[in-house]
């Protein structure tokens, strides 16, 4: 059986595992959803009212029945109703996901547009000062946690230019693209920094490996210029691991960057899940974690397929 097909068969099994795991985990959190939803007012509930609320959210049943009800709903595309928002879980996820998606795309664009040229430049100038500087910068970039980058960016902006990042109400890109971009650019740079550093390191090291290959030497000995060999022969192959790396990283970013969203006060998926966990909003935690895990696995599957499709050596081996 070929590898991608095997992965496809395992996929539903893992999703079921994720559902069960989250379902049990969130129910182990001390406290109950009704109290978390109403706060101090929950003390005013009569036992009858509390029972009615429990019954409304289906919390009066045992775990097995709760899971079965929820899971049967999920299979029909119904993720239940959030106790904190009083709205269907899917509606809430789709409210917050576009921001997370936009942020992930922007950071990836930043990372690739800086990382690939810089990595190739460094490889082409191996052991010269420019290579050394790029390597040091990349090493530092990779070693600085993104939330620290975010804090330092905010500090440098406020001290250097006397401006603070726009942290008012979030403006969706569909309403005002420019205002949206103004809000998104700093978080995107923040997340893009470590990402770019990883891309630089990856493209540099694969490029160096490839430049030692026989076919590169052959192309050079045919009289092809070094520049043309790098761009025409080496680059397409050097990009394959970079694509894998970016795919995996992109998958992570789709899960929401909890810390960076927190620092820049962005209502993305990461903060939604964080709030939902703290509020014991069972349906919302279950639904959004399942959503995130689903995206993550889909992206990884696509990366694997792209990897096989892009590298002729792998493609021919499997045939």
């Amino acid at each position: 059986m070929s590898y991608p097909i095997k992965r496809l068969l395992v996929f539903p099994l893992v999703m079921l595992g994720v559902s069960v795991f989250v379902f049990i985990a969130i129910r182990l959190v001390p406290g109950d959803a009704i109290t978390a939803m109403l706060g101090t007012e929950s003390g005013l509930l009569t036992p009858a009212q509390r029972d009615a609320l429990s019954a409304y959210f289906g919390l009066d049943q045992n775990w097995f029945i709760q899971f079965w009800r929820w899971f049967a709903g999920v299979l029909q595309g119904n993720f239940g109703i959030s106790t904190t928002y009083g709205k269907p879980v899917m509606t809430i996820i789709w409210q917050h996901f576009p921001l997370t998606l936009e942020l992930a795309i922007l950071s990836m664009l930043i990372a690739l547009s800086i990382g690939i040229p810089a990595g190739i430049y460094a490889a082409a100038h191996k052991d010269r000062p420019s290579d050394l500087i790029l390597r040091i910068v990349a090493m530092f970039g990779q070693s600085t946690p993104s939330f620290v980058v975010g804090l330092l960016l905010i500090y440098l902006l406020s001290v250097g230019f006397g401006v603070l990042p726009e942290m008012g109400t979030f403006v969706p890109i569909t309403e005002d693209p420019l205002a949206n971009l103004a809000q998104m650019i700093l978080p995107a740079i923040t997340l893009g920094t470590a990402f770019a550093a990883a891309v630089i390191r990856m493209s540099r090291s694969t490029m160096l490996d490839i430049l030692q290959e026989d076919y590169v030497r052959t192309a050079r000995s045919k009289g092809m210029s070094r520049r043309r060999v790098i761009w025409r022969h080496a680059l397409p192959n050097a990009l394959i691991p970079v694509i894998t790396l970016s795919g995996v990283e992109f998958g992570y970013l789709l899960g929401g960057a909890v810390l960076v969203e927190q620092i820049f006060a962005l209502p993305g998926l990461g903060r939604t899940v964080l709030d939902a966990i703290l509020q014991r909003d069972y349906a919302l935690v279950q639904g959004s974690v399942l959503f995130i895990a689903f995206n993550f696995m889909i992206v990884n599957l696509l990366v694997d397929l792209a990897y096989a499709a892009l590298d002729p050596r792998i493609r021919f081996e499997t045939k």
């Binding site: 595992g17 985990a25 620290v148 330092l152």
Partner: protein, 280 residues
Amino acid sequence: MTALLKDIARHPSGRIGLITFAVFLIAAVMGKTGFTPYDPLMQDRIARLQGPSAAHWFGTDLFGRDVFSRLMDGIGQSFIISFFSVGIASLLGAVLGLTAAWFAGLWDGAVMRFMDVLLAFPAILLALLIITIFGPGTWTSVLAIAIVYTPIFTRVVRGPALSLRRRDFVDAARTFGSSRRYIMTRHLALNLVAPLTVQVTLALAWALVTEAGLSFLGLGTQPPNASLGLMLSDARNLMELAPWLLWMPAVALMLAVLSFNLLGDALRDILDPKTRRRLA
């Protein structure tokens, strides 16, 4: 072991990583054993928010506590959490990976699918979920980070273990009548040390970042105890007034992570037979 240290010291980035790590380790040990210039918890209402000076090298915070002392304490805290969590994760991962590769079949399937489930979560979310179950604190952080990184170690061990299992020297050992346990601990485990060592240093870097992130969200180390993440979180609202509160923990965290990344790079070069041949 000493030969490995010598190799690292000869490797250009390994040397820098080793020195930085040594400095941080000394600071961490001194911070946790009380050899700090000031008591990290002692408040001094008169000396609040003072910039770096001869008396307070890295300045003081909002409560007049000495930032340098708190940094040493915080680094100690971060190191304890990182070392314990990575220790547990690598041990657990090694056992699971080895047994999965050796017994194959149902056990292998069960272990690896469960690891797939854990890997399908973004790391920080999984850690958050675990912490909300058990409540924030030092040992919960250790547990959370350990669970997050166990699947990675399991995979790192299982892959090479699978290919090693089919190698001749394992068959040879079995024909000599060596027991399964002996082969597993003696032959396989030793051959897996190289990939594990590299992964351990990289995981330590990640654990430091995760610990700081959890503390930053208020779910790790609890005040008034010091931790790098908490110090960064405190610095957020004071960064214009007292920038040293931001810079000191930020740079410390960055350098600590950097030292592990450099060590990881050096170890990969030294332990990977492919690159070693190229270096030779």
